[in-house]
C-alpha cells in the first residue's frame, strides 16, 4: 500500500455498505452534522477522527438508525434508515459511547436479554454466549454481576453483546475512551481480529493512535464538517512532512524567537509549550537550527502523525 490513491481504491456506490451524500443533522438551531459525504466499503475499517463536539456521535447515531436524518441522503446496507430502521438494525452491532449494560444482571444474562431483542432462539444465544465470552476473555465472569467489573471488562462485554447477532457492520463510538493503556491494547487486539474475520468496522475516536492502529481509511471532522479524508498514510503525506522536529525552549525564550525560526524546514508551528518544525529531514532541520544559534533545552525528531495532520487542518490539538 503506497503511492497516491487510485480511483479503484475508492468504493463505488454499488458496493458501499454505507453511503452518505450531503448528510445533515440539526437540533433546533444547532447544526451538528453539516452536509457530509462518505462511503464505507465492505470489510474495511473506517474512522471518524475529531475533537469532542465535531459531529462524530451525531453521525454514528444516524448510521445506527436511532436519529432521523435532517437532510441529505443516507443508505446503510443499501437501505434507507427512515423506512427500514428495524431491518437495518437487525444486521448492525452497536457499541455506544455510554454503556447500556444492565448492572444488576450477570454477564451471561446481559447477553441473553440482548440476543432475545434480535429474536434469536435461546439455544443459539447460549452457544454464541460461550463463543463470545471466550473471544472477549470473560468466560470466568459469566455468572458474575456486571456492576463490579472493571471499565475494560464492561467495554469488552458491550462488544461481545454487539456481536450476538453476527452483525455485518459494527459501529463503535469512542470504544476506548476512559480505559487504561493495557485495557485499550486488549480491546484493539480484539477489534483487529474482528476485522480479519471480515467484519466492517466504523468507529469514532479522538485518539490519533487509535485511528492509526485500527483504521484503513478515515475522515477528519471539525465543526460538523469533514475537512479531509484518506488512509492515515495518505493524510500524513498530503498534509504533513515525513518528519517533525520538536524543540522545547526554556521558559520565556520562545516569545523572543520572532524571525529566527523563519525558513526552518517547510513549515513551523508554534504551540504554547514547544515549536514544531515540519521537514522531510528532521535531523537536517535540527542542524540548521543549531547553526542559527538556537539553544532549545529539548530536541526530538519524530515521524509525522495524524495529530500533525489535525493540527495543520484545524489549527488545534485533538485532545485539549
Amino acid at each position: 500500500m503506497s503511492g497516491a490513491p487510485t480511483p479503484q481504491d475508492r468504493p463505488g456506490p454499488a458496493e458501499s455498505l454505507i453511503r452518505a451524500r450531503g448528510l445533515t443533522k440539526r437540533f433546533g438551531g444547532l447544526t451538528a452534522v453539516d452536509g457530509i459525504d462518505f462511503d464505507v466499503a465492505p470489510g474495511e475499517s473506517f474512522g471518524f477522527l475529531g475533537p469532542n463536539g465535531a459531529g462524530k456521535t451525531s453521525t454514528m447515531r444516524m448510521i445506527a438508525c436511532v436519529s432521523p436524518v435532517t437532510a441529505g441522503e443516507l443508505r446503510i446496507l443499501g437501505l434507507d434508515p427512515a423506512t427500514h430502521g428495524p431491518a437495518i438494525r437487525a444486521r448492525l452491532g452497536v457499541v455506544p459511547q455510554q454503556d447500556t449494560l444492565d448492572m444488576e444482571l450477570t454477564v451471561a444474562e446481559n447477553l441473553a436479554i440482548y440476543g432475545r431483542y434480535f429474536d434469536l432462539p435461546r439455544a443459539l444465544i447460549r452457544e454464541r454466549t460461550r463463543e463470545l465470552l471466550d473471544f472477549v476473555q470473560l468466560t470466568d465472569r459469566a455468572r458474575d454481576q456486571v456492576e463490579p467489573l472493571s471499565g475494560g471488562m464492561k467495554r469488552r462485554l458491550t462488544i461481545a453483546r454487539s456481536l450476538v447477532n453476527e452483525p455485518e457492520l459494527l459501529l463503535l463510538d469512542e470504544p476506548t475512551t476512559g480505559l487504561d493503556p493495557q485495557a485499550r491494547h486488549l480491546l484493539w487486539d480484539r477489534l483487529y481480529r474482528l476485522k480479519q474475520k471480515g467484519v466492517t468496522l466504523v468507529l469514532t475516536t479522538h485518539y490519533m493512535d487509535e485511528a492509526e492502529q485500527l483504521c484503513d481509511r478515515l475522515v477528519v471532522m471539525d465543526k460538523a464538517r469533514i475537512v479531509a479524508g484518506g488512509s492515515p498514510r495518505e493524510l500524513i503525506e498530503r498534509y504533513s512532512t515525513r518528519e517533525v522536529l520538536e524543540m522545547r525552549f526554556p521558559a520565556g525564550v520562545q516569545e523572543t524567537l520572532d524571525g529566527q525560526l523563519d525558513g526552518l524546514g517547510q513549515r513551523v508551528e508554534r504551540l504554547p509549550d514547544r515549536v514544531l518544525v515540519y521537514a522531510d529531514d528532521g535531523e537536517a532541520a535540527a542542524a540548521q537550527a543549531h547553526e542559527r544559534g538556537l539553544a532549545p533545552e529539548m530536541v526530538l525528531v519524530r515521524r509525522s502523525s495524524l495529530e500533525d495532520v489535525f493540527l495543520r487542518l484545524t489549527g488545534r490539538s485533538l485532545v485539549d
Binding site: F27, V66, D99, Y114, R116
Partner: protein
C-alpha cells in the same frame, strides 16, 4: 416463529424481576393483610357498631352512608383492591421508566436492535399488566381469607382492578418519559396519587364529600375503578354503569398508550 418485539421487551422486564420477586410477592401479600386487618377489622368493627357482616345493615343505615346490608370490610376491601392497583401502577410506571431511559439506559440498548419505541411502550405496559394481575390476585385471595367476598362473581373485580391499574400506568408512563429527574414523580404522588387514594371512595362513599367536591370525585379515574370493583365484588353491578366505568378506564389506558408512544419516541429517538 417470530416472537413479537413487545414480548421480547417484556422478557427483559421478567429477567430483571427474577432478582427481586420474593420481596415483591411478600409485600403484595402483606400490604392487603395489614390494611384489611387495621382498617377492615379494626376500624370496621367500630363503623359497624360492634356488629359485622349482613347484620351491619342497621349500623350502616344509621350513618346514612354505607350501602344497605354491607359490613365495612366488605365495602372497603374492593375499594382498596382498586387503590392498590393504582399505586402499583404508579410505582411501576415512574421509577422503572426513568431507569430505562436515564439510569440503566436499557431502553437505549433495546433501540440499537430491531425493537422500536412502540414495542418498548407495549412491552413495558404489558409487563405492568402482569404485575397488576399478580398483585390483584394475591389481594383477592387475602379478601377471601378475611371473609370479605360473598359471591363467586366477585372474581370479576380482579380484571377490573388490572384495568384500573392500566388506566393509570399508561398516561403516567407517558409523563415519566418526559422527565429529567424524579421531582415530577414526587409531585405526582403527593398531589395526585395520595389525594386520589384518600378521597375517591376507597374508605367512605363519595356522598360523604362536600357537595361541591362530589362531581370532582366522579371525574377522577380512581372513583370509576373503585366503584367498578366494589359493585362487582358485592354483586350489585348495574350493567350500564359498569360498562361506563370500563369505557372510561379503557379510554384512559388507550389515550395513555398513544401518548406514551409519542413521548418515548421523542425522548429516545432524536
Amino acid at each position: 416463529m417470530a416472537t413479537p418485539a413487545a414480548v421480547r421487551v417484556l422478557e427483559q422486564r421478567l429477567v430483571v424481576y427474577r432478582r427481586t420477586w420474593r420481596g415483591s410477592v411478600i409485600s403484595s401479600f402483606l400490604n392487603p393483610v395489614l390494611f384489611l386487618a387495621a382498617m377492615g377489622v379494626g376500624l370496621g368493627t367500630y363503623v359497624d357498631g360492634g356488629t359485622s357482616g349482613v347484620s351491619a345493615a342497621s349500623a350502616a343505615g344509621a350513618t346514612g352512608s354505607l350501602p344497605d346490608g354491607i359490613g365495612y370490610i366488605a365495602f372497603l376491601a374492593p375499594g382498596l383492591l382498586a387503590s392498590t392497583a393504582m399505586q402499583t401502577a404508579a410505582g411501576e410506571s415512574t421509577f422503572p421508566i426513568m431507569g430505562g431511559i436515564v439510569w440503566v439506559r436499557s431502553f437505549h440498548g433495546m433501540l440499537a436492535t430491531p425493537i422500536r419505541p412502540a414495542d418498548v411502550v407495549l412491552g413495558v405496559l404489558g409487563w405492568i399488566g402482569l404485575r397488576l394481575a399478580l398483585v390483584s390476585a394475591v389481594f383477592f385471595a387475602v379478601m377471601v381469607l378475611f371473609g370479605a367476598v360473598a359471591t363467586p362473581g366477585a372474581l370479576l373485580a380482579v380484571p377490573a382492578a388490572i384495568l384500573t391499574g392500566l388506566a393509570f400506568a399508561a398516561p403516567i408512563a407517558a409523563f415519566s418519559a418526559t422527565q429529567r429527574d424524579t421531582n415530577g414523580f414526587n409531585a405526582l404522588f403527593r398531589f395526585g396519587i395520595i389525594p386520589l387514594f384518600l378521597f375517591s371512595g376507597t374508605f367512605f362513599p363519595i356522598a360523604q364529600l362536600p357537595t361541591l367536591l362530589q362531581p370532582v370525585a366522579v371525574v377522577t379515574p380512581l372513583w370509576h375503578g373503585v366503584d367498578l370493583c366494589r359493585s362487582l365484588a358485592l354483586g350489585t353491578a348495574d350493567p350500564l354503569v359498569a360498562a361506563l366505568h370500563v369505557g372510561y378506564l379503557a379510554a384512559m389506558a388507550g389515550a395513555g398508550l398513544l401518548l406514551a408512544e409519542k413521548t418515548f419516541r421523542r425522548r429516545l429517538v432524536k
